[in-house]
Symmetry: C2
Subunit: 551 residues, 2 copies
């Protein structure tokens, strides 16, 4: 391997020693707490997970030194990248070596498929050292293969047996951790002796609950996006002539968008959990935006910023219905596929939709309507992720403002610029918070393994306190589960955390947004993530976490 060319910051960061909770610094003993229940559907979950249901919560304390038998561990990065993945691995590595220098760590390559296809490397000190405190998942790569079938589990057991692997650590989001738990249960039932431990990863912030305060990567990604939003806001406030429509990654929850709003105080921020709760239409959303634009124009302010969550379209109830109807209508529809012109297809679709969906369809700008009808994935489904929601909104807002202008209700100027941020933050160099948190998560996983635990998620709590006061331990994954319908069948899954409209982060936002919309400028400019310098600049957790914990 040719050595990487490194930037000065990469070189400087490589020697950063992540902060650990006090309990992890010496010899650790495990303290078992109360037994647990799943968040809902207890009987179902219990029957599906007879071996891994109801296990106690675990915390760690400082204890006496003991002998630890040699273990082999395999680690998997699953799904989309999140800052800190490499530090989970370096924490896991250091923890395993501290327990017993003979312990070995293997990395399965390219995500869960590496376990099934027996693609792996041994993670040596040389390799791990090269990736400390860096962003990305490139140390072993990631992938989206789902571990859901017995033959996959058996192939996994085969390679574990061959390599002497006693435990697998799955670093992933809610789905990957659900699958990790199913795998843990399967290996317990089959007496393979293979433990499975999960780690909570996702920039989206939707894997959290009573015991998991936040998923890793959320902090860093939101800080990168907020840096950019702040820069754009300063530009808007200097040039005073553009409305910036900024879409942010996060298809199934608005946590990223809300956190960025709390950090940067834009004029408008759309939270789709609210759109859904209010049963708003796309026109309602457009009208809300137009109201603010007109109001600001009346005060001579023809500029502003709007944050838009990636998955907005899918959360608007009427759009959701339209998309579902289109998917039903058009999947494998030979008549439709045989049609020659766009107009023919458009008319055909309009004729078959329900009255309500047909009205929604007609109200959409032509380009979007066409995209919904024509650009379909191999299964015939609408490719919602391809819809540039920020451009759709700009088009609809401009049209409405033109009407208003014609009616004399609006005298401003409207020029809009669109942005989408996602890939810009998923592999950023982890913030001190994420570097410390992920290293601690990995270190914790090593101890859960050495104590013979399986079906647990590595857990670090009390995250708004200094790192030394963080509480390390393990949470049974079954505790986070309920039954949900997936592809028409009820499945045990980890409950996804949406933005709670009665939660402190949203309530704070809701109490502020009118003044943010109104004023010349309430903008805050967070600036880039700092790794050195005053602690209030370098070590702050997210506003979401601070507000959730009453700070």
């Amino acid at each position: 391997m040719k050595p990487m060319t490194k930037s000065p910051l990469q070189i400087a960061r490589s020697s950063y020693q992540p902060k650990l909770p006090a309990a992890l610094k010496g010899n650790v003993v495990l303290k078992e707490g109360a037994t647990t229940e799943s968040v809902a559907d207890q009987a179902d979950i219990k029957s599906l997970f007879p071996n891994t249901y109801g296990m106690p919560l675990i915390t760690f304390e400082t204890g006496v030194k003991k002998e630890n038998p040699t273990v082999g561990v395999g680690v998997i990065l699953s799904g989309g990248q999140a800052p800190g993945g490499h530090n989970v691995i370096s924490g896991l590595y250091d923890g395993l070596k501290a327990l017993n220098p003979e312990n070995k760590l293997y990395g399965f390559l390219g995500g869960p498929s590496g376990l099934v296809d027996h693609e792996y490397i041994e993670l040596t000190k040389e390799i791990v050292d090269e990736y400390r405190n860096t962003g990305g998942f490139d140390i072993i790569g990631s992938g989206r293969t789902k571990l859901e079938e017995e033959w996959q589990y058996e192939k996994g057991a085969e390679i574990c047996k061959k390599l002497g692997i006693n435990a697998i650590v799955v670093i992933g989001g809610d789905d990957s951790n659900t699958n990790a738990c199913v795998l843990a249960e399967y290996y317990s039932q089959k007496n393979t002796g293979i433990q499975v431990i999960g780690c909570p990863k996702t920039i989206d912030g939707d894997l959290k609950n009573e015991m998991i305060e936040t998923s890793f990567g959320f902090d860093t990604a939101c800080k990168v996006y907020s840096e950019l939003i702040g820069n754009i806001q300063r530009d808007a406030n200097s040039a005073k002539k553009y409305w910036h429509f900024i879409r942010l990654m996060g298809r199934s929850a608005s946590h990223i968008t809300l956190e960025c709003a709390l950090q940067s105080q834009p004029n408008i921020c759309i939270v789709y959990e609210e759109v859904e709760a209010k049963n708003q239409t796309l026109n309602n959303v457009v009208n809300d935006i137009v109201d603010v634009i007109v109001h600001r124009a009346n005060h001579g302010l023809n500029f502003g910023t709007i944050l838009i969550p990636e998955g907005l379209i899918e959360f608007i109830p009427a759009m959701k219905k339209l998309i579902a109807e289109l998917n039903d209508l058009l999947a494998h529809n030979e008549d439709f596929n045989a049609m020659n012109t766009d107009e023919e297809k458009r008319q055909y679709v309009k004729g078959l939709l329900s009255k309500e969906s047909s009205d929604v369809y007609r109200s959409l700008p032509k380009g979007i309507a066409k995209q919904l009808t024509l650009d379909r994935d191999p299964h015939g489904n609408v490719q919602v992720s391809l819809i540039e929601t920020e451009k759709l909104l700009i088009e609809m807002v401009a049209k409405r403002l033109a009407q208003f202008k014609a009616e004399g209700k609006y005298k401003g100027k409207f020029s809009a610029i669109n942005h989408f941020f996602g890939y810009e933050g998923r592999c950023a160099i982890p913030s001190n918070f994420d570097a410390d948190y992920t290293y601690s998560l990995g270190y914790t996983a090593s101890i859960l393994i050495s104590e013979g635990k399986t079906g647990y998620m590595s857990s670090i709590r009390n995250l708004t306190a200094p790192a030394t006061e963080w509480i390390a331990g393990g949470v049974p994954i079954t505790m986070m589960m309920n039954m949900e319908k997936r592809h028409g069948k009820m499945k045990p899954v980890i409950q996804k955390a949406l933005v709670l409209l009665d939660g402190a982060p949203f309530k704070f936002f809701a109490s502020q947004r009118e003044s943010w919309a109104d004023e010349q400028s309430s903008y805050v400019y967070p600036g880039p993530i700092q790794y050195y310098g005053p602690t209030e600049v370098c070590d702050q957790p997210t506003h979401t976490l601070l507000l959730e914990q009453g700070k």
Copy 2:
């Protein structure tokens, strides 16, 4: 004014004391060097600038304290935002107050129009302190009004007289500094007693020459874009499934794109000065990209990054010709405007273009061809800036790859994601380099004013040395001028600095690009701008500057 809510970094940065060249730290005396000539067209420039031509270069040295009469100064921010504008103003303010506490500084609001329309504020300590070391131009706003006519100069003189302003500082790009020099000459000729000093601003980096080593803002903006490019590259190298096409601001020169390439080492970087020099067509550019994609695919690497300068389309000679023909054909063309369908317009245009341009027009994806024909500005001109070049290239590359696949020449997978970065960097918090450089530029301007100079640009040289060794002084603006055709007439203008194909930055890039294209990953991850920490992390100038100065 309601106080701003500030981020922790904003608060911490407000107390940063910019570093100054040693000569500016105490009492300064001025040292005049050799007289100067313009870079070309000496006779023409001399006749146009009888009062401000041929003045000597100026440097500063430490000297004895002297009495400085009170002066009033007005400052103007002109054109697009660039990080550090606020520090030019705070340096100017501090310099003026150090010379004589009675000196006054006024800010003209909203750009050069503030001078003409008599919109201004006095810049007090309270105001200036609020903006130290921050990004943006919001302290007084900016604007794009051009100072080109005598009545504007007269209106300016009127307000200067009223406020007791002896000197105007224009912070702007090449055009604004050209106009500053014309204004200086006019005020000299008319014996108004008003001096004019320029400061070299533009993120584009195209205002530089023998005496001006770099324009301010270029450093910070390139570092912000490079941070994002690095993050995207780490993502590409982790997911291993996307080609990222990244367009970067900078319409008239590729400096930003080249600097970002030097910082991040992408697989492909297009420099349009090279495209023009080689007389390449759009198809040539596409073919070059496809070659690299196919080559990487042959080695199993179906991912990569491509940097594209914003103004590429305008620099491709055949496209430039097509656009010029379209502009001639369609401006105020009533026949064309009366046509009803896109197809009718398309056929009409095809019929009237030259053979060469018609061929180019036919080769373009339909969407782009339509945009060139239909989306026209109020003067009937093609709106080149609206063309999303990165999407155009993705479409053309995908088409070519599909052909290759059908012919069995390509077996890879091609998925592309597009990005455009511009507004994200123009108002970033200035890097230490830009904070120091701009503060020194402003401070220098105050001394040039107190010494009665006019028609000079504030100049700080030796910028790759530590700030204390920087050389402060002034350069006659006429020295940077030549005659160029503008709107059909020969005009004296500051020569724009394009990327030199025989310059060290391009030559270094050219020597490396094959290995960057080939390898699994040569990516460098610069990370976010750091304001605290090791000096090699926090205080480095651009690679462009280091290479230009042989470092």
